[in-house]
């Protein structure tokens, strides 16, 4: 039976079919739906959201050493967080198969950078698999498990946004069980103290060499001979664009590009007149091909910034053929359209926090989540973003550097559990005094509303302990800890004022559920009384999508308004109720 599955759904299916026992990860676009879809197989596969990717990776590693097949999922930047366990698990090696699924985001549709995570495979000296559609996504997960067990190594399965979020047809298979043997004590194998790590280091190189003949012979890599004037080496979704735009060319499709299949590359290069390498982001293949002494085109035509597309390839083709390609531009009227950027939802509790912060001349070190939207007009109330957790640590850094203004650090609840706790510990330990606001909307909202250690539910739907942010804060040494609802707006502003005047570190837990996830806070829409409204437009400064200014009047769209009453509390004339 064939089903239309997204790349992420297909990977989840592969997890089921490959007999995987343990599936863990931390949400992050475009990887999130993998574990969300594994959940449907929870009778066979234990699955969990871990607090962050490092923990997730280590959980999967522990499972793998008992002989259980395990996977860990994350977005590209998550692998930076998990790089530490990765770089040594490559030494220790796998017992049960372990595949790390890493989803890159070329073009930065929903990310803060566009790193090419394939580099990690080379860095860690482990196999890399790259599917180019959903069927391959499933197949490669299963193949990855076999490779992992055969060579006793972790494997990276790399997808990109267009693989994870495109749907294509997948033939479904049955699950094949793999029963773990249990952990077998073997310290020289599992304990990388220097004396044992040195032989492990040698084994890493031997393993890589042993894999090379297998890679060239693997069915995951194939040559599609056609016209030999031009040969193209491609992997991932770029392969699909190549087939579309260069239908006549010979293609070497690499589904298992690392360790590099040198023999296959040489054979292909020798069979074509001109060689072109088409890969998204870095020159991961091209650099190596050139190092083999093979002349090829690549990044001289193919951009290394942003994602590729059939259109980008048509431009590349035209350039190679010395032709002009007529540009299809948006119609002229499109340039006059109002931009439609993403915004905080109507009644989002985060809005009140940024609106309140707008009243103070402070520096706001922010973080990543729905609340990142607080950086945009008309709120404009976030000054820095770096990576998860940095909202707290950078506030501390600014403080100790002697920043004259008061510094406010902002993180969400999921971000706090991910990597804010250690940052807060630093503030308590090293005694600086920023104001830290933790936006506790009870859920990991940005990535599609996953549960987290504070929300009281596991990924498998079981009730669990709700981690207390208050207790964490106190344990880190913070004495001023307040829990408030920011939609009690005046009191919230008063607390901010008061905290800015205190020379002590303060943690404000802004607790108000995400209205999209938890509808219990929804109230009837508010109305603007046109007789009382003096069109001062102050309420429009909070950027609520339910507030419209049309034909000279402020109006509330009653289909959108969730009745949070923030605009009403801001209106100086009490015109909204």
């Amino acid at each position: 039976m064939k089903e239309l599955l997204s790349g992420n759904e297909a990977i989840a299916r592969g997890v089921y079919e490959a007999g995987v026992r343990v599936a863990v990860g931390y949400p992050g676009t475009p990887s999130t739906e993998i574990l969300e879809n594994v959940e449907q197989y929870k009778e066979h596969v234990y699955c969990e959201w871990s607090p962050n990717e490092k923990v997730a990776f280590e959980v999967a590693a522990g499972a793998c050493l008992t002989g259980a097949r395990s996977i860990v999922t994350m977005k590209h930047v998550g692998l930076n967080v998990a790089a530490d366990p990765l770089m040594t698990l490559t030494y220790v090696g796998a017992v049960g198969g372990i595949v790390a699924i890493v989803a890159d985001d070329p073009g930065m549709h929903s990310s803060q950078n566009e790193q090419d995570s394939r580099q990690y495979a080379r860095f860690a000296k482990i196999p890399l698999l790259e599917p180019s559609d959903s069927e391959e996504a499933r197949d490669f997960l299963v193949a990855g498990m076999d490779i992992s067990e055969k060579f006793k190594t972790p494997v990276i399965l790399r997808t990109t946004t267009r693989i994870s979020h495109s749907r294509s047809l997948v033939e479904l298979h049955e699950r094949v069980e793999h029963t773990p043997q249990g952990f077998k004590k073997d310290p020289p194998r599992f304990v990388p103290i220097p004396a044992w790590a040195r032989p492990m280091r040698v084994r890493v190189e031997e393993r890589l060499r042993a894999m090379i003949p297998e890679v060239s012979a693997s069915a995951l890599n194939r040559i599609e001979w056609a016209n030999k004037d031009l040969g193209i080496i491609a992997c991932g979704v770029a392969y699909q664009y190549v087939k579309e735009v260069f239908p006549e060319a010979s293609v070497l499709k690499l589904g298992w590009p690392y360790p590099y299949p040198d023999d296959l590359i040489r054979q292909f290069a020798a069979g074509v007149k001109r060689l072109l390498v088409v890969e998204e982001l870095d020159d991961f293949l091209e650099e190596h091909i050139k190092a083999l002494g093979i002349a090829c085109d690549g990044k001289n035509f193919v951009p290394n910034i942003g994602e590729l597309s059939p259109m980008a390839l048509r431009r590349i083709r035209a350039k190679m053929e010395g032709k002009e390609l007529p540009q299809v531009l948006p119609v002229e009227e499109a340039s006059k359209l109002p931009p439609r950027p993403p915004v905080l939802c109507p009644s989002c509790p985060h809005r009140a926090v940024f609106s309140a912060l707008g009243k103070f001349d402070v520096v706001v070190t922010g973080d990543i989540g729905c609340y990142s939207l607080g950086v945009a007009a008309p709120l404009n109330r976030m000054d820095t973003i770096l990576c998860m957790g940095a909202g707290i640590s950078m506030a501390h850094g600014m403080k100790i550097a002697g920043e004259k203004k008061r510094v406010v650090g902002i993180v969400g609840d999921s971000t706090f559990f991910h990597s804010g706790i250690t940052a807060l510990l630093d503030i308590g330990y090293n005694k600086s005094a920023p104001v830290i606001i933790i936006l506790d909307n009870r859920v990991t909202a940005m990535t599609g509303h996953q549960d987290n250690p504070g929300s009281g539910l596991t990924l498998m739907g079981e009730p669990t302990h709700e981690a207390s942010i208050e207790e964490f804060a106190r344990a880190c040494g913070i004495k001023r800890v307040f829990t408030v609802d920011p939609l009690k707006y005046d009191a919230f502003i008063e607390l901010l004022k008061n905290s800015f005047e205190t020379p002590e570190p303060t943690v404000i837990i802004s607790r108000s559920p995400c209205i999209v996830h938890d509808h219990s806070g929804l109230k009837p829409a508010l109305k603007v009384d046109p007789d009382v409204c003096r069109t001062c437009k102050l309420c429009l400064k909070i950027g609520c999508p339910a507030l419209e200014f049309t034909e000279g009047h402020v109006r509330i769209n009653n289909l959108l308004c969730g009745g949070c009453s923030l605009c009403g509390q801001i209106c100086p004339f009490d015109a909204i109720s």
């Binding site: 676009t29 294509s168 950027p341 993403p342 007009a377």
Partner: protein, 194 residues
């Protein structure tokens, strides 16, 4: 882009675009075609523009298309039709919902929503099917089915048999809402044929 048919859907988060794209894919699949779709997730939502693309044919490689390649452009919101107009192939059908969603950039005063948009649509799209899908959905039984009304109109620009569309709807929507959705689909189809 060889023998593949592409449909480009655009609108604003929450308008039911993904369901519409699912029904189109199912209809194409039931007609025996290879299918690929692509959707935007994540930061692109939260009231931002949402697009979805469905491609079908004997063999589909790329999940993305070149500009000027969609056989039908179906816009759930008027301004979004213009933003995506360059994806429509020459001679292609534009289905545009007569429906306006004001972006925050407009309500906060930093941009303006285009006036006499109807004229602009006429200018951009020689083959235009422009009507109030929400109104027709209400007549069918619920305004929530506006997406399926638009789908009905879209189906007129595609060459899939009507029976597979109905089958696809049966396969995709909950039984409880089947009746209204079939009505909504018929209303949209009628609107595009008149």
């Amino acid at each position: 882009m060889n023998d593949c048919v592409s449909v480009f859907l655009t609108g604003v988060g929450g308008q039911g675009i993904l369901l519409a794209s699912e029904i189109i894919s199912n209809a194409a699949m039931l007609s025996g075609f290879d299918v690929k779709t692509n959707e935007v997730h994540g930061m692109a939502q939260r009231g931002g523009t949402v697009t979805a693309l469905v491609r079908y044919g004997p063999k589909v490689y790329s999940p993305l298309i070149c500009e000027g390649n969609a056989r039908v452009l179906c816009a759930f919101e008027m301004a979004e039709a213009i933003r995506a107009a360059h994806y429509l192939a020459p001679g292609g059908l534009a289905v545009v919902n007569q429906y306006r969603i004001i972006p925050v950039t407009v309500s906060s005063g930093s941009a303006v929503y285009p006036e006499n948009i109807k004229e602009t649509l006429r200018k951009c799209f020689p083959r235009l099917c422009y009507f109030d899908a929400t109104q027709k959905a209400i007549e069918a039984g619920t305004e929530k089915a506006a997406n399926v009304v638009l789908l009905g109109a879209t189906s007129v620009g595609l060459d899939l048999p009507e029976e597979t569309w109905l089958e696809a709807i049966r396969k995709t929507v909950k039984p409880k809402f089947l009746e209204v959705n079939l009505k909504a689909f018929a209303a949209g189809r009628a609107a595009a044929q008149s």
